[in-house]
Symmetry: none
Subunit: 144 residues, 4 copies
Amino acid sequence: MSDFSCKPVSLDEINVGMTASYSQTITDHDIKNFAGLSGDYNPVHVSDEYIQSSRFRKRVVHGLMPTSFFSGIFGMRLPGPGCLYVSQAIEFKRPIYIDDTVTAKVEVIEVDLVTRHVKFRTTCSVKNKVVIDGLADIFIPKDV
Amino acid sequence: MSDFSCKPVSLDEINVGMTASYSQTITDHDIKNFAGLSGDYNPVHVSDEYIQSSRFRKRVVHGLMPTSFFSGIFGMRLPGPGCLYVSQAIEFKRPIYIDDTVTAKVEVIEVDLVTRHVKFRTTCSVKNKVVIDGLADIFIPKDV
Amino acid sequence: MSDFSCKPVSLDEINVGMTASYSQTITDHDIKNFAGLSGDYNPVHVSDEYIQSSRFRKRVVHGLMPTSFFSGIFGMRLPGPGCLYVSQAIEFKRPIYIDDTVTAKVEVIEVDLVTRHVKFRTTCSVKNKVVIDGLADIFIPKDV
Amino acid sequence: MSDFSCKPVSLDEINVGMTASYSQTITDHDIKNFAGLSGDYNPVHVSDEYIQSSRFRKRVVHGLMPTSFFSGIFGMRLPGPGCLYVSQAIEFKRPIYIDDTVTAKVEVIEVDLVTRHVKFRTTCSVKNKVVIDGLADIFIPKDV
C-alpha cells in the first residue's frame, strides 16, 4: 500500500504546483517548548505583563516555531522520509499571536531532475493572511 | 559576555563586528523535542535502524533545531529583549549529528540607525567547521 | 487511597472488587505532549479552526492520552511497581474535550493465584459518564 | 496536489490489505515523556538500579508508548485527518527495551461501507519480531 505509507515521494513524481499543508493552533505550550529549545525567553513571547505595556495585543509566537512545520511537511509528506534540507529563507511579515491557528503550506516551484534539488515556496497563514513567507531548497538523495 | 546580558542593547550601542554566541551539545532529547514541535519524524532524525542502512554514521539533527539558538541569542542578548525578527536565511552546509556540540554565533554586519534594522551573519559550527550559515535581519522598536 | 501506595500490593492481598483511581484535567499541554509522542496531529486534536467547522464543540483529546492513566495506576498503585502489562482492550465511547476532568478507574474483576494474572475493568469518566471502557490483564512476577 | 497533502483517504479508496507504518528508536526521552504524561513511574521503566536486580537486561518501555504510534498513523496517514478512534485492543507480547527501534504497522482487514467502520490489525515489531499485537476499529465520518 505504497501511497499512504511513509515512503518518500520519488523525484519523478514531483511536479511544479504540488502542495502540502498542515494547520495547528499555536498555544502557550508550543511557545514555552520553543523557548525551552531555543533559549529565547524574550518577554514579547513569554510575559503577559510585558505585553500589556507594549504595542502588541497578545504574546507573540516565536517566528521560527511555525517555521518548523515546513520541516515536518518536508520530512514526512512531500518529499517525505530521507530528503535533506539544503536551505530555508524566511520573512516574518506579520506577528503571530498566541492562540492563532497557523496553516503552513509548501508548494513546488522548481524541480531539477539532474541535481535532484526541489525548490518550494513556503508560507504560513493566519485567517488567509500570509504571516511568514519564504523559499526552501530540498535535496532528494538517489538511494531514498 | 557581560555586555550582551539580558537587558536590551540599544541601537546606538550596536556596532559592526559585535558578536554573541551560544554552545550546546545536541542530544536525543533535543531531537525528539524538535520532532514533537515540528511533526518532523523523518527517520534520518529518529531511527537508529534507518541510519545504519544509510550513508550517515549517526542520526542527523533537524537543521532548524540549532537554528533556533539564533532566536535565543537575538531575544536574550544581542540586541536582547524587545527586538523583532524580520528575516532569517539559512543554508544547511553539513549534517549535524546527535551528540555534536554546536556553537551558534551571530555577528553584526550592518546597522541602519534610521530604519532601526540590524543585519547579522549567523553561523553554527561543530569543531570549528561551519555547519549552518545564514543572514538575519532584526528590527529594534523605539520603545525598547 | 493509602492501601495502594507506592509499594507493590502482593498477589494474595488483591481481591475482586478492589479499585484505584486517578483524576486529571486534560489541557492543551497534555494534548500537545501526546501529539509529540505519537505523531498524531489530527486537526480534531490540534486545530481550533478545524473544530469550528466540525460537529465538535471543542478540540477532542486523543483517546489514548487518558488511557495512559491506567498504566500509571497499575505501575504505581494497584498492583504497583514491578507488575507487567499483558493486554489492554479499550473502547472510546464518547469524545473527551480539552479541559474536561477525566477520572480513570481500575477495578479487579478476576484474580488467578496460579498463573499470577489479575484482570481489571478499566474506565475513564467525565462527570460520571463513562467515556472510555475496557479490560486489562496484568501479570505479577513472583520476585516482586 | 491531493495525494500528499494531509487530507483524509476517503472510505472508498480504502481496501483490505492496505498498510502504513512508522519506525522510531525509543529512547529515554520517550520513556520519561510517557512517564510524565501517564504518571507511570514503575521502576521497570525509569530505574537502572532496579533493572540490574531484576530479570530484565535493560529498562523496559511502557507498552502504551509505541501503541501511541497507531494513533499517529490513523490520524495522519491512513485514514488520516478527521477519522475517529472507536476501539483498540492490544497484547503486549514481548518486552520492548530502551533504545530498541520499533516499527508500528497498521493493515486494513475489513471495510464496512455502510457503517463506515474500518478494522485494522495493528502490530509493533522489533527486529522483525512482533512485540505488540492488536486490533483497531476506526470510524470515518461522512463530512470528512
